[in-house]
């Protein structure tokens, strides 16, 4: 406020400098209690008693000596406690004694130095004056003048055309570099990739991780299988394919299943297959509650009801787990009827396009 009233005299710097700092809504009272000044120095025992002083000196030395012992001990431990292949205990002992040696070596120095500083070094508080952080008026004026000169001599604000040209060039130069980030990933369309998995008509459902195909007759009521496509290991990118194609297979009493009209032939005698990848952010939904037929994601606790086509009954997820339509082939092995009918895993912008 006061600055604004300061008329147009002097440079901006001067005007700013001479204005007293506003206290805002602070209450500035004349009736404040006065600072009583420094209290008298309270000497420590080691300041008064030379015996205690020597005692402290010895203590500091003992601490430094302990440190030396610790460091030597660490070297000895390195040699005395080698790691034997396949022996976990040797790893533990190596870790323990080497670490204890190092720790003693460090703590001895630390406590020694701190003890020295607190009990033997001069204990008087010293006083240093503060100055306002802002530089002296001459300095500030000179700095301001330098910028003015710089501006005048270069014509930075006067020659608007070239200044704006420079700014434009500076903005564009880094922007153009954005293109080089395209090759961070192969030249494919991620949206297309996300919408397809390894499953296709006739792909056998195999056990994770050994890849042994599953026969419908192996799946008893109440059992659950972690499933991968049989051809997963032949794929060029097994991990990436698995991250989309992982499936959970369960067999329920067909009477427990509430099957909608369009999915009525997607299960095989109560055997159902659902994507294992959570529709929330993609963790594997690996916890199956056999009694309630609920699937629980251990990351964020989304729960899916398998009896109701994996609809979300709790947690942050929105969409049910996609169901893999299955049947059996002529040899009795479970096979996929097709790929999933929707993208698996977490939502993405172009998901429904």
């Amino acid at each position: 406020m006061a600055q604004a009233d300061g008329a147009e005299t002097g440079t901006a710097v001067e005007r700013h400098e001479h204005a007293p700092r506003a206290a805002g809504v602070a209450v500035v009272s004349d009736d404040r209690v006065q600072n009583p000044g420094f209290p008298p120095y309270r000497p420590r025992v080691s300041d008064i008693d030379p015996v205690k002083e020597r005692q402290n000196e010895r203590r500091v030395f003992w601490l430094f000596l302990a440190s030396m012992i610790g460091s030597v001990f660490a070297v000895v431990a390195y040699i005395v406690f080698p790691i034997h292949e396949g022996d976990m205990d040797s790893v533990r002992l190596n870790n323990l004694f080497l670490g204890l040696g190092f720790a003693l070596g460090l703590l001895g120095i630390g406590f020694g130095a701190v003890h020295w500083s607190k009990s033997l070094m001069d204990g008087h508080d010293l006083v240093e004056q503060r100055h306002e952080t802002r530089g002296k008026p001459e300095t500030v004026a000179r700095a301001s003048e330098i910028f003015t000169l710089g501006n005048k001599e270069s014509g930075f604000t006067r020659r608007k055309l070239i200044r704006n040209g420079l700014l434009g060039a500076l903005v564009l130069a880094p922007l153009s570099a954005i293109v080089i980030f395209r090759d961070f990933a192969p030249a494919e369309d991620p949206v297309k990739l996300l919408k397809h998995t390894l499953w296709e008509k006739g792909t056998r459902l195999a056990r994770d991780p050994n890849g042994i195909p599953i026969k419908a007759s192996d799946v008893t009521i109440g059992s659950v299988f972690h499933v991968i496509p049989e051809n997963l290991h032949e794929s060029d990118h097994p991990l990436e394919e698995k991250a989309k194609a992982a499936v959970l297979l369960m067999r329920l009493d067909p009477a427990d299943l509430h099957v909608s009209e369009e999915r009525k032939d997607w299960n095989f005698r109560g055997i159902v297959a659902y994507s294992k990848i959570c529709t929330h952010v993609g963790c594997p939904v690996a916890l199956y509650e056999q009694q309630t037929h609920h699937l629980l994601c251990p990351c964020h606790q989304s729960q899916f009801d398998i009896t109701r086509e994996a609809e979300v009954i709790f947690g942050p997820a929105k969409r049910p787990l996609p169901q893999l339509p299955i049947t059996v082939d002529e040899e009795g092995y479970l096979v996929a009827q097709s790929d999933f009918h929707e993208p698996v895993g977490p939502s993405f912008w172009e998901r429904s396009l």
Binding site: T133, P190, H280, F314, G315
Partner: protein, 548 residues
């Protein structure tokens, strides 16, 4: 040339003259060395400026030191680890010392991490030192921030340094997360999977960002190498630069101090760098290092050999991130179900966007708080005396609310473990925490504010009437009183020397108008300062003494 030589001689002889009290070979060598360096660097100016710089003392000033020293420990142990770690996702078959994983396929990153743990003497120790130091680093940065917040040490001229510190906090979390993801074990892989899921939830660009980040589809073969570059090159460079700025600004602004007799806004009272502070702080570095070393030798952290290599299909129950990412993970868990809409075929994933927005807003509020408070108080003066939290009740209450908000999110990251440990249902825990996320901060705000005001009243009472001495005296009239002992001026000063603010009187400006900004400021300052306990004044003390 001759001139320089002469100068050297003079300086040297002067220095010798000064130290003639205790001559000796050692001293002569030190003098020669000092002069050698001085002639080539003019370092004396630096020493003169900083050598006897004063540092005030208080236990809470140690938290920032812990952060600095644990960062040094991280650099040292991390450098050791880089000599062995292979940041590659090339598929290998493990053939190291750890028998249970022999013959298991995994990435080179995971295999080399196992080798560091089981085939390099001291390798496991360095891994554990690195991980423990990282946990301590983020924790001490957070506590240091809380100290600065609750004592108002962010006020002018330190607002910018608050922002630098805030950036350091964010960088520390970034360092932590990138490091956590490097071993490519099951837990870190699932952490990345969550990041991937979150990134994909970002509208328009999410799918592409994820695709480019992972170098193809998740998990790809690029991410560990990329995170490694961030973890050991880009982020540490930024952290070191920010620490440099942080410390330089601390030297320029000088350290804050708590109110005490003789201490004013115009001085710094404490110990000089040479020798007391140097010995204390230097010693403290070794203590921090030693404690980390002790913990690392005794307590296992991140036993990746128990988790196994990353595979998108298995997962273990009770998965959790490192503690400092917990608040973000917790927010993901707390969002109510079914928040996703489709608009013209595009999927808008609110259950990702809302947590990101809430977290973003929360940390932005933390970053800009000093500027908001400065605007409300309109106080343009420099502040070098740290507030006791009780003497800024509204700020302390806001801080308590913020801490509670963070704590609820953080607790939510363990909702499943809370449920299993206390035999509760996970649904019940989640619903409770959802309610606590909203109600907790409100309750914390009200309680903290009342507690602050009550403490201020108690201080006021003690400053005016002294403390209860426990001595009961019977007066001639038969009346019993307890004698109150008066405080010394020194003790009283600690209780009465604080800044007092009153709500803004909203007045028209020069043009006769009350601007919206002024109105808002009026409301906010009333919120901040309506309930206030003014510091005891001289006349009140005199009046109180007359009563007795």
């Amino acid at each position: 040339m001759t001139v320089t030589a002469t100068t050297t001689e003079t300086t040297a002889s002067e220095a010798t003259a000064e130290t003639q009290v205790e001559p000796g070979k050692g001293m002569r060598f030190v003098n020669w060395g000092a002069n050698y360096i001085e002639d080539r660097t003019s370092l004396s100016g630096f020493v003169k400026e900083l050598g006897r710089k004063i540092f005030p003392d208080h236990w809470s000033f140690m938290l920032g030191e812990v952060a600095l020293y644990s960062f040094v420990v991280i650099l040292l142990s991390g450098t050791f680890l880089t000599f062995f770690f292979q940041a590659s996702m090339t598929h290998v078959v493990y053939d190291g010392s750890y028998a249970p994983l022999k013959g298991v396929g995994m990435s080179a990153a995971m295999a080399s991490t196992l080798d560091i743990s089981f085939d390099v003497r001291g390798g496991l120790l360095m891994r554990q030192v690195h991980h423990w130091a990282a946990l301590l680093f983020v924790a001490s940065v957070g506590l240091h921030m809380l100290r600065v917040f609750f004592t108002g040490a962010f006020r002018k001229p330190r607002e910018l340094n608050w922002v630098v510190g805030f950036v350091l906090f964010v960088l520390a979390m970034g360092e932590g997360f990138t490091g956590y993801s490097l071993p490519d074990d099951l837990l870190s892989g699932n952490g990345l999977r969550i990041i991937d899921g979150m990134v994909k939830g970002i509208p328009i660009i999410g799918t592409w960002i994820s695709y480019l980040l992972f170098g193809g589809e998740f998990p790809g073969e690029a991410i560990v190498g990329r995170l490694y570059t961030l973890h050991i090159l880009l982020l540490p460079a930024l952290v070191v630069a920010a620490i440099g700025v942080h410390l330089i600004l601390m030297i320029v602004n000088k350290h804050t101090q708590f109110a005490g007799p003789g201490r004013t806004q115009g001085n710094v009272v404490g110990v000089p760098i040479m020798p007391v502070f140097a010995a204390k702080a230097g010693g403290f570095f070794f203590i921090v290092f030693g404690v980390i070393m002790l913990v690392a030798s005794l307590v296992t952290i991140n036993p990746i050999w128990n988790y196994g290599p990353y595979d998108p299909s298995p997962i273990s129950a009770g998965t959790q991130p490192d503690w400092y990412i917990g608040f973000a993970d917790g927010m993901l868990r707390l969002i109510p179900p079914h928040l996703e809409t489709e608009l013209w075929g595009f999927t808008i994933t609110w259950y990702i966007l809302i947590p990101i927005a809430v977290l973003g807003l929360f940390i932005v509020l933390v970053a800009i708080y000093p500027f908001v408070e400065a605007w409300i108080t309109g106080d343009k003066r420099e502040h070098h005396i740290a507030d006791r939290p009780r003497n800024a009740p509204t700020r302390t209450a806001i801080g308590a609310a913020g801490v509670t908000f963070y704590a609820v999110m953080w607790a939510a990251a363990s909702s499943d473990l809370i449920a299993t440990h206390f035999r509760l249902s996970v649904e019940g825990v989640t619903h409770f925490l959802q309610a606590a996320l909203i109600l907790g901060p409100i309750i914390a705000y009200l309680v903290a504010k009342r507690v602050c005001l009550a403490l201020q009243k108690k201080d006021r009472e003690i400053a005016l009437h002294g403390f209860e001495s426990g001595r009961i005296v019977r007066l001639p009239g038969g009346e019993y009183i307890e004698v109150h002992e008066r405080l010394s001026d020194y003790d009283r000063w600690r209780l009465v020397s604080y800044e007092d603010y009153a709500p803004l009187m909203v007045r028209p400006n020069a043009k006769g108008r009350i601007t919206t900004g002024t109105k808002i400021r009026g409301v906010l300052s009333r919120w901040f300062f309506e309930d206030r306990i003014a510091p005891v004044t001289r006349s009140e003390i005199e009046a109180a003494h007359h009563d007795h």
